[in-house]
């Protein structure tokens, strides 16, 4: 490996680093009951929602930040953060009313709403900081009976659904960050697909963190009623920042009898510079409940960004014959730290889960897979297959695998495999001898290593994800 390429890497700037100048309507820093009341009032929330938030806040005060993950960071000053930020103008009714600055930002991100909508057939509920500013395709979806709206709107317009399901998968007290999110969540998406409906298009939300020092607390709730199916895409990039930004999202999925939910993520938040300065702290709780018979929840994630990733998309397989899947690619470079994995909790009979995790570490980064497979005594005939592979690029990084396997049923079958390796010299040599540059060769090999996961992504994401992988690792092998 040559030192010049390592230097190139160090100088590699965050490609999507730009900020948008829009007047921000900001609250004072810090968190207390008044701030929560203010957030709730700003959103015209009903009383029950405020009470729910306050209960969560009270719970959060009694909890401690978890310390079991393999991540290191200076203490987070929760009282120094802003807990709400919104573009200053009122929510627009059509694209014409949207701030042109915002639209430009989306264009830089590669989501020209109007074109993308027409070409890709994707409805975009774009979240700019905390308030949804543009939503498209509502009508088509409404015709199918699908509800796809900001969760703040759902709280007002579909309270019966929100009250029934919010916090039913990730309870308020589930963990420190989930409790914080429950108290202060700003906005996010709400999806309800009614009985027997196959959602006519892929649903997509782009998140951005924009305001300086603003914690971003997204809350997403997706419900697929009996025999319904939906595919949801989440993708994000963030402007370059010097100060660390906290992000603590909660995503809850509920699948009833025969329902299917596919949730795909491409996460490319600012990872910090080559010295590890700045970057997003991403503490996310994602969990799906397969409540119904033969229901299915599938998580696919490509994680390339953030200074810290703390994220374990999980499935609770309650319904007999339900299926959980987790496909993950996590790439860390420079001083990034990722501690990510999944939990598969088998409760119902003949439940099946598959875990495919590919971790790639380069530079000085640390990349940990942490996963739990639990077969309860009730889960007769349950089946799990897990494969975790790690790839190390360079001798200053770390790759770790921490699987927990707990089996309490004699008729269940659990298999786990893990390997760690580096890019083989002969593979590189072969590609180089065919005229590929070193970087292209690495990109090719890494994409091959991740193929099992990338092929699970919807078309729109697969292309972006492959590019992301190459960009993330640029210059890491010489």
């Amino acid at each position: 490996m040559s030192t010049t390429t390592v230097q190139d890497l160090a100088e590699q700037k965050y490609k999507y680093g730009f900020t948008t100048d829009i007047a921000m309507e900001e609250f004072p820093r810090g968190l207390n009951e008044d701030i929560i009341r203010l957030i709730s009032a700003k959103k015209n929330e009903p009383e029950w929602m405020l009470e729910w938030r306050l209960k969560a806040y009270a719970a959060w005060l009694t909890m401690e930040e978890p310390d079991w993950a393999r991540i290191h960071h200076p203490p987070i000053e929760y009282q120094a953060l802003y807990y709400y930020a919104a573009p200053a103008k009122a929510a627009p009714k059509s694209l014409e009313e949207v701030d042109p600055e915002l639209l430009k930002t989306y264009e830089k991100l590669g989501i020209p709403l109007n074109e993308r909508a027409a070409l890709a057939g994707v409805a975009v509920d774009a979240v700019f900081d905390s308030v949804s500013v543009a939503t498209t395709f509502r009508e088509t979806l409404a015709k199918a009976g699908v509800i796809f709206c900001p969760i703040s709107e759902a709280v007002r317009e579909h309270p019966e659904l929100v009250r029934q399901y919010l916090g039913s998968v990730v309870p308020v007290r589930d963990n420190y960050f989930a409790a914080l999110n429950s108290a202060v969540f700003s906005d996010g998406s709400f999806v309800y697909v009614p009985k027997g409906v196959r959602c006519p298009m892929e649903l997509s939300t782009y998140f951005r963190i924009n305001a300086r020092n603003t914690g971003q607390f997204e809350r997403t709730l997706i419900i697929a009623d009996e025999a319904a199916s939906v595919s949801y895409l989440e993708g994000c990039t963030a402007p370059m920042r010097d100060e660390n930004q906290l992000h603590a999202a909660v995503v809850e999925l509920v699948a009833l009898d025969e329902a299917k939910i596919k949730y795909s993520t491409v996460q490319n938040w600012y990872p910090g510079d080559a010295e590890g300065k700045g970057g997003i702290y991403n503490f996310v709780t994602k969990r799906g409940a397969c409540r119904g018979r033969n229901s299915k929840i599938s998580w696919t994630q490509v994680e390339t960004g953030s200074a810290i990733t703390w994220k374990y998309p999980s499935c609770v397989l309650q319904g007999d014959g339900s299926v959980g899947e987790f496909y993950s690619v996590a790439v860390t470079n420079n001083y990034q730290q990722a501690d990510t994995g999944t939990k598969m909790i088998h409760l119902g009979k003949n439940t099946t889960s598959t875990i495919i995790s590919k971790g790639i570490s380069a530079g000085h980064s640390d990349n940990t897979y942490r996963g739990l497979v639990r077969i309860a005594a009730s889960a007769s005939g349950a089946r799990n297959y897990t494969q975790c592979d790690s790839l190390l690029i360079g001798d200053q990084c770390g790759a770790h695998t921490v699987p927990y396997i707990e089996s309490r049923n004699t008729s269940a079958k659990v298999e786990h495999e893990a390997t760690t390796s580096k890019i083989a010299e002969d593979q590189l040599f072969y590609c180089r001898s065919r005229g590929l540059s070193q970087e292209d060769a690495v990109g090719l090999i890494v994409n091959g290593f991740c193929k099992d996961v990338l092929k699970e992504l919807p078309m729109e994401f697969a292309v972006e994800a492959q590019k992301l992988l190459s960009v993330s690792l640029e210059g890491s092998v010489g």
Binding site: L392, D395, P403, I405, S407, T410, H416, K422
Partner: protein
């Protein structure tokens, strides 16, 4: 006394020592002389934690016991250091092949008692030794032995343990091995006895080309709890470690395997392999597995595999269709399942002893 570890400690997540802390253990009574197998080997016998010269036979490489100072993050090793009064100290000088020695612990008593043996095994450059450890007993007691092993370059230690403690006993063994360049540490534990037992091994591969084999077979039934925990630290380049752990769990027994392979920065060309397989024979049995990799070097080959399941019905059917009765067919399949872990045990007396212990397990009620 240093406090017992609790489940809040990650290393003790699956093994709960609360039943142990509820018992007030007294100092060991004078042990009664048991009937001991004569394998025609030199032997060191400890009764209720005290060396018994009359039952032992001379072994040229044994030394007297000396107390130890300890400042350990391991609570059990710390307790042992505070309490240990006796133990085997074996020293084999460079270039000497010391053959095989039996290390026997036998415990009996009417009231619950505890004993904390502290063994030390030191092998000089190129020295060789086989230690065959047998632990047996009756009644309620807590056996908390610590074994510290230092192997100089090119030394080879084979360490075989047959844990057949009393079914009411608590057996918590800690083994620490430091393995220098091109030296090898071959370990095998058969966990058969004990109400609650754990074998915790810390092996550090400190010189290039060092090797560690840590194998185990856990055969548990009733309400037994068995834990096999290992940490292999690859600290030098070109070292290899192999672990094969097989657990057979019947009734409501619970098996635990926690294994961590650590590869330090600079420990290139590391070859680490770990396999944990468990058979759950009854609906109430449970297996908890945590195979962990912690890797800070890029030119390494590390892998682990873990499976948990039942006996293969097709294999069973095949044997039955050949006229083999079900019980016998099951025994055959379980014996075959254990083979990969037993395979490296080639020492004749050890092999005989192990086979007898395993065969004995089938016929237990």
């Amino acid at each position: 006394m240093t406090a017992l570890p609790t489940k809040k400690l990650e290393a003790w997540r699956y093994t709960d020592l609360r039943p142990l802390s509820g018992i007030s253990f007294v100092a060991p009574p004078v042990g009664a002389a048991p009937a001991l197998p004569d394998l025609g080997l030199p032997r060191l016998v400890f009764l209720n934690g005290v060396f018994n010269a009359a039952l032992s036979s001379p072994f040229a490489f044994a030394r007297g016991f000396a107390p130890v100072a300890e400042d350990s993050a391991l609570p059990l090793a710390q307790i042992n250091a505070e309490q240990a009064h006796d133990g085997a100290t074996l020293h084999v000088p460079a270039g000497v092949d010391a053959g095989t020695v039996l290390l026997i612990s036998h415990a009996t008593g009417d009231v619950p008692f505890a004993f904390h043996l502290r063994h030390r095994i030191t092998l000089g450059e190129g020295a060789r030794l086989t230690v065959l450890e047998i632990a047996k007993g009756e009644g309620i007691y807590w056996h908390n032995p610590v074994t510290d092993i230092t192997l100089a370059a090119n030394a080879a230690l084979t360490h075989i343990r047959v844990q057949e403690e009393s079914r009411a006993a608590y057996s918590l063994a800690t083994i620490r091995a430091s393995v220098a360049a091109s030296a090898s540490y071959e370990h095998f534990t058969a966990t058969i006895g004990g109400q609650l037992s754990r074998t915790e091994i810390h092996a550090a591969l400190t010189g290039p080309g060092a090797l560690a084999h840590l194998n185990a077979a856990q055969l548990l039934n009733g309400t037994q709890h068995g834990d096999f925990t290992t940490v292999v630290a690859h600290k030098a380049p070109g070292c290899a470690s192999r672990q094969t752990v097989k657990s057979v769990l019947a009734d409501t027994a619970r098996g635990v395997f926690q294994g961590r392979i650590e590869v330090a920065r600079g420990a290139q060309q590391t070859d680490g392999f770990q396999l944990s397989q468990a058979l759950l024979l009854s609906p109430g049995a449970e297996m908890d597995t945590k195979p962990e990799l912690e890797i800070f070097a890029d030119d390494v080959k590390c892998s682990h595999g873990a499976t948990v399941g039942a006996l293969d019905e097709e294999q069973l059917f095949y044997l039955r269709s050949r006229g083999i009765p079900e019980a016998q067919a099951r025994a055959m399949l379980i014996r075959a399942f254990l083979e990969a872990a037993l395979e490296p045990v080639t020492q004749k007396e050890a092999r005989t002893l192990l086979e007898a212990a395993i065969n004995n397990w089938w016929v237990q009620p």
